[in-house]
């Protein structure tokens, strides 16, 4: 748990020497608590205090990074139970499990690796692959490494096989799955030797906490937890308990969690994966490469890991809806994603073609942006000119959102030659408006 300014003050020399740049030790302590300065600015702090302060500053859930030559996945470092309390920071890695025994292994991974889907201007992919060692692990790792540059999870209980396979992945950080009470000593050795992350598995949280401590004593620091659990409800409780304990600085369970989505059958895979994404998993492993499942999962992850303080913004620009022609109308709105979606969806659903100009209103909705001066005649005119909308249309006809009807006169002044119309206030009324008023 982070220390308060007063608690930090007690660990400082309390001499008010001012060498840190602050008038008193208390002022410095307050800045430290707010994480606005580094402890290093104090020349006289004792080693014991340093150690205590460093421990209190360590994240409650360890940051674990899997690395390969081409990409990395960071998970952990979360600080809240509910996203509105701050935000969820590091999106869970979505990994596809493949089998070493599969004759089409390389082909399958290559196909999955090429997968890319665009969501509001962002490209999403899978994050890596988990190789099940039901055949020769080392040759599978070689085959997979030839077709992907993403991080790997190696699933095996065989320390020797893991050792030789990890030797093929020099310079990378892979994840070993999984150490249990019976094999943790040998797997911890391998993890330590190759600087790999070690997944740890036990039937109860008590046993799991014991095991992570024993592994830590062996010198392996980076771990992830497999919580077990017989179904979704059982897992939800374990996952919630682990997050709560970790946030209360219970170090033995302060690690990210790994979850296998197909554990109770592939027909439940999508729901299981979604559940894990919503409820605190750090790594989610799926068995099926199905774009119709992966796309909604990636969108769900993006939604829940969006900072609630910073709404998703849409790239300002001209969006073509239903293949507009030069005579189609130009609609204007702001770049708040929900506003954009509401408008774009309605227009799209109407089947009528239109040019949708999205202005940079700093991610605010129409009314909010108008009130804040981020959506005025000047900005609208700037967008129309900046995106060269006049070159796309034969009939210069512009539709303003009904909420900013008051701007129509000014927009006409700013954009000579344009016919400015006032549309409905709500997006839901756009199709009717377009049918009746724009023909």
């Amino acid at each position: 748990m982070a220390l308060s300014g007063i608690q930090i003050y007690k660990l400082l020399p309390q001499t008010n020497c001012k060498e840190c740049g602050f008038p008193t030790c208390l002022a410095f302590a307050m800045k430290l608590a707010a994480k606005q300065v580094e402890l290093g600015a104090c020349p006289y702090v004792s080693e014991a205090s340093k150690k205590q302060l460093a421990e209190s500053a360590a994240p409650p859930i360890r940051l674990v990074t899997l690395k390969a030559d081409g990409s990395e996945v960071k998970v952990g470092n979360e600080v809240v139970m509910y996203r509105h309390e701050k935000t969820f920071y590091n999106k869970p890695g979505l990994f596809l499990r493949v089998r070493a025994s599969d004759p089409d292994l390389a082909k399958k991974v290559a196909q999955a690796d090429a997968y890319k889907v665009n969501y509001v201007g962002m490209d999403f992919t899978l994050n890596g692959y988990a190789i099940e060692a039901d055949g020769d692990l080392a040759s599978a790792v070689k085959a997979v490494r030839e077709v992907t540059k993403r991080p790997l999870i190696l699933i095996s209980n065989d320390a020797a096989a893991l050792d030789s396979s990890l030797s093929l992945l020099a310079g990378e950080t892979a994840l070993i799955y999984a150490a249990s009470e019976s094999n943790y000593e040998s797997l911890a050795e391998v993890a330590k030797k190759h600087k790999a992350v070690l997944a740890v598995k036990a039937d109860t949280l008590d046993a799991l906490a014991d095991l992570t401590q024993k592994i830590q004593a062996k010198g392996a620091e980076d771990m992830v937890l497999d919580l077990g659990g017989k179904n979704l409800g059982d897992w939800l409780m374990r996952s919630t308990q682990v997050r709560r304990l970790a946030l209360k600085n219970f170090r033995p369970l302060g690690y990210p969690v790994i979850f296998f989505a197909a554990q109770n059958g592939v027909e439940k895979e999508a729901v299981y994966a979604a559940h894990a994404i919503a409820k605190y998993a750090g790594f989610v492993v799926i068995d099926t490469f199905a774009p119709e499942m992966i796309y909604p999962l990636l969108v769900l992850r993006e939604n829940l890991y969006t900072d609630p303080q910073k709404p998703i913004q849409v790239q300002p620009g001209v969006y073509e809806i239903n293949s507009p022609k030069p005579e189609s109308p130009v609609l204007v709105t702001t770049n708040f994603s929900i506003t954009y979606f509401a408008v774009a969806n309605e227009v799209e659903g109407s089947g009528l073609p239109a040019w949708l100009v999205v202005t940079d209103a700093e991610g605010m909705s129409v009314l909010t942006a108008w009130a804040a001066g981020k959506f005025d005649a000047e900005r609208i005119a700037k967008a129309i000119k900046g995106f060269n909308v006049a070159d796309k249309v034969s009939r210069k006809r512009l539709v303003l959102p009904g909420h900013v009807a008051v701007l129509s006169g000014e927009v006409e002044e700013e954009l000579p030659g344009w016919e400015v119309r006032v549309g409905p206030r709500e997006a839901v009324d756009l199709p009717a408006f377009m049918k009746q008023a724009l023909n």
Binding site: L205, A278, N303, L304
Partner: protein
Amino acid sequence: MPIEIPKDKWLGSIRTVTIGATSAEGGTRAKTVTVGGGTTMPYLHFKAPTPNKPAIAIEIKSRKPTDWSPLLAEVWGEAMADPAQWAKKAEEAGADLIVLALTVEDSPEDAVKAVKSVLGATGLPLIVWGPGQAEKDNELLVPVSEATKGEKLVLGICEDKNYRTIVATAMANGHLVQARAPMDVNLSKQLNILISDMGMPKDRILMDPTTGALGYGMEYGYSVMERLRLAALQGDAMTQFPMIVTPGFEAWKTKEAKVGEGVPEAWGDWKARAVNWETLTALALVESGADILVLRHPESVKRVKDTIEELITA
């Protein structure tokens, strides 16, 4: 080493609300549905069991919808033209409740007839929505409410700009109301206060926080629901109503669910994607505290019900 699990100490709980009335209770329903009563964040049974599991409602319309996805037309078929038949099929598909959405084309007589035919076709409790235009809602819901006195229907949808008439008729005829506010904790609270102030008993209000679809603002609704639930547990009486959400309506509006052609290949198989869109939107809302989920596709219904079963039997 035994770990001590940190448990929250909550003062408040969600109100228990029962929909529908059997003949013994002055209605004609074969069974009733009870939701709410939760005393923890959803499904945390190490604190307390979930007293009532979330219920699934299937949405049908009084007239064959023209703007629904062909995938939905495919599963419901001819039944879509007849609310009674449609309601029966919905019951077979596993619905705990029926939502009957009236349309602007309905006259008050049509509306009453449609509601009565659905009540005759199925023994499930019923939620009736007006078409969503204030005047028309009132024109249709008042006669429906009067013609079904004592059935304990849920009438909706009350919004801040139009709630008085619906609440008044629901109060007079022993029904419940659905109170919708646009994704905002305070607006939800405010509408609940206004409705309670009219004298509506608190065990006859369902709150609808409004939720977007996956990819279309769902995260706002998700967090608003978590905040409402937390406020309720902290003892805020005006947030302690069970939540009804409409993931079917939201998800089937999206391009991902609606459109099969001319979309990116990376979206995958249309039907599976559409059902996933509805199911995952619903799942997220189950996690954040939904008590009634209104769905449209029978496959989503099955998957969401199975999920709920797992969540409550941990």
